[in-house]
């Protein structure tokens, strides 16, 4: 169990700067998820924390000890890799024991810990097998087991579920959450999948181009995204963005229609972007709608219906309607939404707060 503080962490590969001064504090026992599109530096950040990469500048403090120059082996962390990285020539038992043998632990203690982890992860019957004789899910468990036996200060998980099929991923996700609850360990989890982030995290760190966009609990990010990127990244289906401009105080104009947004403080005439989640809108007749739409695609999911539409200006707009409505492509519908469900962003994508 450890806490971690990153202070202006910068990582450069040659002339390319991957991480631009990351500041982050992770509390003991917290489950933190780094999420972002590919190439955002989330894996690099994890490797920097692990000690597999050296920081170019900045500070990493583990339990308030500066560990910039401490090697990966001596930081006392454990990592689960995307490809699992099980040693193919060793049995499951040897895979689990390898790290403990290297720290010269007495054999009895190694056996005890391996047995304990195997029991926890239900891999006891597999201990004598080689990794190639295991299924994807079993390999995943062994990889997690290899981290557990080390009793690390922090678990680092690098997209651990991305090699599993969709069904198994849901199962393993639940198991990981249960594991975190029972171990009460600090975990840092990297993923590009916002659903994993939302379901697992105590706090989510959204990264983009080597910068932290926002840090917060899943619902904070969902309800109060700090910028357009976070708003678009968190939540599924994606948030809709409609361009407009600020009208007289407390209102915006979209495609010629004026929409009241009480408390909006923006210069009249400034171009803004409205963000509305598909779940926050209701369908109405096109005439009295805030935004009229032409339906381009209908996805029937059973419990709900996802409508993909186009505004008059050609912006795409998604609506999630409950139940199994009858819609046809080309049909004209309208949507309305309550002002409190609207997020307003300025020209640079920053949120404009409303009082």
């Amino acid at each position: 169990m450890s806490d971690l503080v990153l202070n202006q962490v910068v990582k450069e590969f040659g002339a390319v700067r991957i991480l631009h001064g990351i500041d982050l504090a992770i509390r003991d026992g917290e489950f933190v998820v780094f999420v972002g599109p590919s190439g955002c530096g989330k894996s690099t950040l994890l490797r920097v924390i692990a000690g597999l990469e050296r920081v170019s500048s900045g500070e990493i403090r583990l339990d308030s000890r500066l560990v910039n120059d401490v090697s990966a082996a001596d930081r006392g962390l454990a990592m689960v890799f995307q490809s699992y990285a099980l040693y193919p020539h060793m049995s499951v038992r040897q895979n689990l024991a390898f790290g403990l043998e290297n720290s010269r632990m007495p054999k009895a203690e190694i056996d005890k810990r391996v047995a304990e982890a195997a029991r926890m992860l239900l891999i006891e019957p597999l201990l004598h097998r080689k990794p190639r004789q295991l299924s994807g899910g079993q390999r995943q468990r062994v990889a997690i087991g290899r981290a557990i036996v080390r009793r690390p200060g922090i678990f680092l998980l690098d997209e651990p579920l991305s090699n599993l099929d969709a069904e198994l991923r849901v199962v393993m996700r639940a198991e990981l959450a249960a594991l975190h609850n029972s171990l009460k360990a600090t975990m840092i989890y990297v993923t590009h999948d916002q659903t994993e982030a939302m379901t697992l995290a105590d706090r989510i760190v959204v990264l983009k181009d080597g910068r932290i966009e926002q840090v917060g609990t899943p619902l904070e990010l969902y309800n109060q995204p700090a910028n357009r990127f976070v708003a678009g990244f968190i939540g599924s289906p994606r948030m809709n963005f409609i361009e407009g401009e600020a009208a007289v105080a407390g209102a915006v104009s979209i495609n010629g229609r004026t929409l009241p947004l009480p408390g909006l403080a923006a210069q009249t005439g400034a171009s803004i972007v409205l963000g509305v989640r598909p779940h926050a809108v209701t369908l109405t007749a096109p005439e009295d709608a805030a935004i009229p739409l032409e339906v381009t695609l209908v996805e029937q999911l059973g419990a709900e219906t996802v409508l993909h539409g186009r505004t008059v200006k050609g912006e795409s707009f998604t609506v999630t309607a409950p139940g199994q409505g009858r819609f046809s492509i080309g049909e004209r519908v309208g949507v309305t939404f309550a002002p409190e469900h609207v997020h307003v962003f300025d020209g640079e994508g920053r949120v404009i707060s409303r009082s």
């Binding site: 490797r47 692990a50 000690g51 597999l52 090697s71 990966a72 082996a73 001596d74 962390l77 454990a78 990592m79 890799f81 995307q82 490809s83 990285a85 099980l86 040693y87 193919p88 020539h89 390898f98 790290g99 290297n102 720290s103 990794p131 190639r132 290899r146 080390r150 090699n163």
Partner: protein, 350 residues
């Protein structure tokens, strides 16, 4: 037997012989003769007497002319099958040959000399294995000593080759450092320098190190091979870096990563290099010939050279000892070849 015939007569798909089957078997047969023929001929010939070896045209099998001891003659006389004037066939022993006529006797009644034209007689020959080709040199020629030396050189050189080359390959494949490509380039460039070019400086170095006329003088200059470094490096590039990162997280030292992760995973490539190294070192001739001067230090290949005198070559001994000298390499190859297939099957990481 049944399994063997089904194996040997396998055809693609259906029951009948497709022309591609025939082509495939023809191709395989040609390959077999080309590869295995010389070895077979060498083995068979190693059982021939010097006389049979010198014969022209050569025979495939080790045939030997039969002789009989005939009363009244000191030496055993060679036997011939003779077609008589009346067309009957008799087996006679030849006393001497005069021009185109041979004087022969019947071993049963040695008094009467029969004169036979030489084109009417054919030697009586039977397969006989001249095992003395093997037993004689094993007794006189210090085969065991040379064999021991060869084994020592081969085993030590191969072990050191594997360790040294795999270390270099590990560094060149898994560490990022300035000049890595240049170092690899220089190592590979040495492939273009043949032994004969560096033999004099190499000799001087070995001499200065007091390794002249020792087996270590044969071993050490040969252990670092560019081929081996390149082969192992290319293989190690396929070992995922995540495994090495995982080992680092598992508190493994760099040495442990090399010894416990990379080396076992490179086993198929190591087996290939081991086979190469064993064959190179076992068959090495020029360098041991230069370094070794005392007979006790000779390796097998240098020792075999003793059978080739300035004026005549004792082919029967050369052949028999060559057979003995290729046996260990063949056995090692058989053994390691199985290991290679198993090894490659093992390396599927995912």
């Amino acid at each position: 037997m049944n399994a063997l015939t089904t194996f040997l007569l396998r055809r693609r798909g259906g029951q009948s012989w497709h022309w591609t089957d025939m082509l495939a078997y023809l191709w395989l047969a040609i390959g077999l003769v080309l590869m295995f023929g010389p070895v077979l001929w060498l083995t068979v010939s190693s059982f021939k007497t010097p006389a049979t070896l010198a014969e022209f045209p050569p025979t495939l099998l080790p045939l030997d002319t039969q002789v009989a001891t005939v009363p009244g003659y000191d030496k055993p006389l060679p036997l011939y099958r003779v077609t008589m004037e009346d067309g009957s066939q008799r087996v006679l022993a030849q006393v001497r040959r005069v021009g185109i006529m041979a004087q022969m006797v019947d071993p049963q009644s040695p008094q009467a000399i029969v004169r036979v034209p030489i084109d009417k007689r054919v030697p009586v020959r039977e397969i006989s294995l001249a095992t003395s080709n093997y037993s004689e040199p094993l007794r006189q020629f210090d085969f065991l000593r040379y064999f021991q030396n060869s084994v020592f050189v081969t085993v030590m050189a191969t072990l050191i080759t594997l360790v040294v080359n795999s270390m270099a390959a590990f560094a060149l494949s898994k560490y990022e450092f300035k000049g890595r490509a240049a170092v690899l380039g220089i190592i590979l460039a040495t492939l273009m320098v043949p032994l004969s070019v560096i033999v004099v400086p190499l000799y001087l170095v070995v001499n200065q190190l007091n390794l002249f006329d020792t087996l270590w003088g044969v071993i050490l200059p040969t252990v670092a091979t560019p081929t081996g470094v390149f082969l192992l490096r290319q293989y190690m590039l396929t070992i995922p870096d995540e495994l090495i990162d995982a080992a680092r997280m598992d508190k493994a030292s760099e040495w442990q990563i090399y010894w416990r992760i990379v080396l076992p995973l490179a086993a198929p490539a190591l087996a290939v290099l081991a086979i190469f190294s064993v064959m190179w070192r076992w068959n090495d001739f020029l360098w041991p010939l230069i370094v070794l001067s005392r007979k006790e230090q000779y390796t097998l290949q240098v020792g075999l050279n003793a059978f080739s005198g300035e004026l005549n070559v004792q082919w029967h001994y050369v052949l028999s000892m060559t057979v003995l000298s290729i046996l260990p390499v063949a056995l090692i190859f058989l053994f390691l070849q199985r290991y290679i297939t198993a090894g490659i099957a093992n390396t599927g990481l995912k």
